[in-house]
Symmetry: C2
Subunit: 323 residues, 2 copies
């Protein structure tokens, strides 16, 4: 735990000292506003822990970690325009606080800054190559997500592929980049990448569950947002799979906007249906499968098990966010 | 002339064979739609000619040239949203043909693809570093341009700095990347960069002139668009400098939207004023200065003058676009 805490504090201190706001200030202020918001620094932490796992120097992973955080934030700035989300992490989003044009341009600048940061290591080509491919895959995932909104039917494999691209790939890439800068061999890089895919998938499925079964005071997220916005999450797709023909029809009607209910009544009805069908347990089962896959990949890394304790603990902390 | 033609044909053939559309197609189709539009391939040509100048292999510059074209198009896709421009190169823009969200996301993907292409050379780090910095400077130029729209006063140096960032830097970077992959030394890289800044500035100033003094049938651009849209180009800023107090007041009123005239009447009145003040000759003088600076930088390159003939011809072709 100490190691995790120590890396987090060191990275938080580092990021505070980075000069985000250059001229023209209007371009860079929204980037600083977004990247400097307090957060768990998930992707940087994965990168730093992976580097540490292979005995790499902290400072070799520092700028790549910042690159990952900045690149992630560039996608958030643009996604919030596309999704018209006014609030993130309890703060106004960039397009809301400034305007759409500023959010487009500052999001572009954030991505440019991320590439600039990614080069500041002794392995710039591999780091940049991994980051570039991850960013394209995130765009592909976002494209699928947008297309799902207007599609009547989405299959579970399609949904899982979408969240792999949109969420898991950058977590996996963060780990791989940490491994690369620490000099890990190709096999171990691949194991860490697979570990990241596993925890990334589980992480997103847990998000899907938390939307239905969590508490605003703990998570700062309004419960049931996915339901109100007719998001075809795994909760919904699993429910369709398990539902009787009548239940299926009702659920599809509720998620198509055909039936208009007061939001809270809609949330209550959908969650009651999920409860009836045992959807939560099903999604939790799949989540546990992904965690198992993740730990198996971590075990395959050619290092003594005691070295892996910090990454394992970090993954456990992630999986424990509903406790 | 033959060399220019030959490089253009080779690059056009190459770009046709590049696989732009991967899955999900919805993401990549707008990129292909934009990049594959017929054009003069200005940035690729500068890169290829610079590589050739230093005796570099064509194939080392091919992907960097494509990276420059794709990166340039990523900025156009986003700029057209910000400027609400429905038409470019006689075709519907991406945000108009698809929608804003698609244009944001496909523009992001285009930038990611550009970085991927930029790595496909034996000098990936320098190429990526130069491209990254140029992209950030373009964003800075676009930021200044957006801020100028709502500002009452813009100085001529500020305007020149804006077009340097928004237009000239990527042309200069295209030349420098061609020089880098051909193995030119730092001094010669800098000379080519400076040559690019000179022709880039002149190129943009000529655009400013052509808006007032050209013909739709030749350029596919509606004359006077900058005037109708109250763009503070160098024509306008020079006019303010040369105007009497009364003329200045009238011009500022016309460009602030205070006075509302039929577009053609506004264009006619403004151009008549420009004619009176001799604005065109003043801007042409500055343009000629930039060309002179450009040619001086090219002369400083440590190579026999006969090797430089193609780049010089290419720059002359650019400067002759109003003939």
């Amino acid at each position: 735990m100490e190691k995790i805490q120590q890396l987090k504090e060191r990275f938080d201190a580092f990021i505070k000292g980075v000069e985000f706001v250059k001229r023209p200030q209007g371009l860079y202020e929204p980037v600083a506003y977004t990247v400097l918001q307090k957060g768990k620094r998930l992707r940087p932490m994965l990168c730093l822990l992976a580097c540490d796992l292979f005995g790499g120097e902290y400072h070799e992973a520092e700028y790549p970690a910042l690159a990952l955080e900045t690149a992630h934030n560039s996608t958030l700035i643009h996604d919030d325009i596309m999704d018209q989300s006014p609030i993130r992490r309890g703060m106004e989003t960039v397009y809301k606080k400034w305007d759409t044009n500023q959010a487009i341009l500052s999001g572009d600048a954030a991505l440019g800054m991320a590439f600039d940061f990614a080069m500041r290591t002794h392995r710039p080509v591999e780091t940049l190559s991994l980051l570039t491919h991850a960013m394209l895959e995130i765009d592909e995932g976002q494209q699928m997500d947008m297309e799902f909104e207007t599609r009547k039917e989405v299959s579970i494999p399609e949904y899982l592929e979408m969240i792999r691209l949109k969420t898991a790939v950058l977590m996996a890439t963060s780990l791989q980049i940490g491994a690369v800068v620490a000099g890990a061999d190709d096999d171990d890089q691949r194991h860490l990448y697979d570990f990241g895919i596993g925890i990334g998938m589980a992480f997103q499925l847990q998000d899907d569950i938390l939307d239905c079964y969590s508490d605003v005071s703990v998570f700062g997220k309004v419960t049931g947002v996915d339901i109100v916005e007719n998001k075809k999450t795994l909760m919904y797709l699993k429910a369709l799979e398990l539902a009787s023909p009548e239940q299926k029809e009702r659920l599809m009607a509720l998620f198509s906007g055909e039936v208009s209910l007061h939001p809270q009544r809609k949330i209550d009805e959908v969650i009651a249906l999920y409860d009836d069908l045992g959807v939560k347990a099903e999604v939790e089962r799949l989540m546990a499968d992904y965690y198992r896959q993740a730990y198996a990949a971590l075990e395959a890394v050619k290092l003594p098990e005691e070295r892996k304790i910090h990454l394992r603990r970090y993954a456990e902390m992630l999986s424990g966010r509903n406790k």
